[in-house]
């Protein structure tokens, strides 16, 4: 069987390691030095008896000479080279991998590391640019600094200042310094840099969300006539039974929704009806919850608007999340109890439509549709098990009514006087401490 091209490089490496001359080795195996030279530079394939003879002369097992760098490593090295355009001699990658396997692995590992770091930088940049809570917290810090600077300048200025004004400005500086200390502390806690391990999903929900994000929140394998749910769950490579159970539950709903709302027809209808869930439910005779879920699972890159989704059980525990920019749903801890998804439980089977606004100096608005429906089929002698579903659409047209003021979760919500607050806010703290 012919060997890989890089076998020649390995032969050359072993010969040089042992200080043997090319001519001597060639003579020992009965070939010309120029032919051996071609072999060593991977210009002639080598196999069979000649390979065995060379291995014997070099004192190594023939298998060692033919065991080249694996294709994954070569691919990773080619990817690494592609990062910098035409700088590297890509055509000689096999030779490099054969002669310097350790350095080659280092190149591949570093390229992968670079890719991860770039992804992390991008994610932090997105967070800085779009996180409304972070923007509110930074605004708080800068406002305090501005007030302190301006007030202090007045106090140290050359112009005379009467005692009442002096006392007043001293008090202002004191209050602002306390506020600054609290805001800075909260900001540092919020920005606490994650270590490499913190990037790994830590809860079943987070793990499932990470998997779904990789699919673009669209599972093509479940769109077929004979979807294999078990295969999808198995191939998701989830770490625990809880995550697999969660994904299986999502896939079950997915399959049911896909059957009721076939993708090709649904895609066309979405564009035709302006993504109006009520109109879509009427056209297909499907449940409102199915339409909401189906909208959020439309294929990425097909020109559909971004749509987020949350699904929770009757205890309020979130079972599935798909965030949209500006509406990053909490994966740990409870969400804001004012979200329409929770309000839907008070009116089962009634579709809700509500415009909501997140806190912040500049309000961010979203349009939410929600419904609470029985999760399973009807049965006698047992209460229905309800599940609530909420679709989230960014930047709605301004409605006739003012939006409902909601938050993301209490810990990062700046609304002080919220009747629904269940724990103190970590950022945007306005209360003063002595």
């Amino acid at each position: 069987m012919p060997t890989r091209r890089l076998t020649g490089s390995r032969i050359r490496e072993k010969r040089l390691d042992q200080g043997l001359r090319q001519a001597a080795v060639a003579e020992a195996v009965g070939i010309s030095p120029s032919y051996l030279n071609l072999i060593e530079h991977n210009r002639r394939r080598i196999a069979g008896k000649l390979l065995g003879d060379l291995a014997r002369v070099l004192g190594v097992d023939a298998a060692l000479l033919t065991a080249g760098a694996d294709n994954d490593l070569l691919d990773q090295m080619r990817d690494a080279a592609a990062l910098l355009g035409d700088v590297a001699e890509v055509a000689r990658v096999e030779e490099l991998a054969a002669r310097y396997p350790g350095w080659s692995r280092l190149i591949a590992v570093q390229a992968r590391r670079l890719e991860i770091l770039e992804g992390r930088v991008q994610s932090l940049t997105d967070r800085m640019a779009h996180d409304p809570q972070l923007a509110a917290s930074l605004h708080d810090v800068i406002s305090s600094v501005t007030a302190i600077r301006s007030t202090a300048s007045i106090l140290v200025g050359q112009e005379p200042l009467d005692a009442d004004w002096q006392r007043r400005f001293h008090e202002n500086i004191h209050k602002d310094s306390l506020r600054l200390a609290a805001s800075s502390e909260a900001l540092i806690a919020y920005l606490d840099a994650p270590g490499p391990d913190n990037d790994r999903p830590t809860t079943p929900l987070e793990e499932v969300e990470t998997y779904l994000a990789k699919t673009g929140f669209h599972i093509a394998a479940l769109e077929t006539a004979d979807p294999d749910r078990a295969a999808v769950v198995a191939q998701a490579d989830l770490s625990g039974a809880a995550a697999r159970h969660l994904l299986d539950a999502i896939c079950t709903l997915y399959v049911r929704d896909a059957y009721a709302l076939p993708l090709a027809d649904f895609d066309l209808a979405c564009r035709d009806l302006g993504y109006d869930p009520v109109a879509l439910a009427q056209r297909f005779g499907a449940g409102f919850g199915s339409v909401l879920r189906r909208l959020s699972f439309l294929p990425p890159g097909a020109g559909h608007p971004p749509m987020g989704l949350a699904v929770c059980d009757a205890s309020g525990t979130l079972r599935y999340l798909k965030s949209v920019p500006g509406f990053t749903m909490p994966r740990a801890g409870g969400a804001c109890p004012l979200w329409p998804i929770f309000g839907a439980f008070s009116r089962p089977a009634q579709p809700l439509r509500a415009e909501v606004a997140l806190p912040g100096p500049v309000q961010t608005r979203f349009l939410c549709y929600a419904i609470a429906e029985p999760h399973q089929g009807p049965s006698f002698d047992s209460a229905p098990v309800l599940q609530s579903t909420m679709l989230v659409l960014p930047d709605p047209a301004e409605g006739a009514l003012p939006p409902t003021q909601v938050g993301m979760s209490c810990r990062i919500c700046a609304r002080q006087d919220c009747a629904a607050r269940r724990e103190p806010a970590m950022i945007g703290v306005m209360a003063m401490r002595d």
Binding site: H139, S143, T146, S150, R168, P361, V362
Partner: protein, 122 residues
């Protein structure tokens, strides 16, 4: 030109400091803290200069500026924008919407005074 300045800003201590330094310069400073009702305040008392914060409760300073520039009563009033966000895109947006000047927090008192004087033609 008159000497009435309307400061639309929601941070009480910034309001107090700016009001103090401009009043000391002989200007009459009116203040307003809410974005939603800011336009009504401007129309009720058209000032000679508006100092407008971008991040206001109820409505953003950019939205207010947009309205100011299409209203016959207010379109010629110089507007100096204040913002805690110093990003280039905010500055560009403010100037594109018709802001006369753009200042990033934290600013110095001298900067405020100089710009107000320039915009009021003093």
């Amino acid at each position: 030109m008159g000497n009435r300045v309307l400061l639309i800003e929601d941070e009480p201590n910034i309001i107090e400091a700016i009001s103090f330094i401009l009043s000391r310069d002989g200007l009459t400073v009116h203040t307003h803290e809410d974005g939603q009702t800011a336009m009504a305040k401007v129309l009720a008392l058209p000032p000679d200069l508006i100092i407008l914060d971008v991040m206001l409760p109820g409505r953003s300073g950019f939205d207010i500026l947009r309205d100011l520039r299409v209203n016959d009563v207010t379109k010629a009033i110089p507007v100096m924008m204040l913002t805690a966000r110093g990003q280039a895109k905010d500055r560009e947006l403010a100037l594109r919407l018709g802001a006369s000047h753009f200042m990033t927090k934290p600013f110095s008192n001298a900067e405020v005074r100089d710009n107000v004087r320039n915009l009021m033609g003093a």
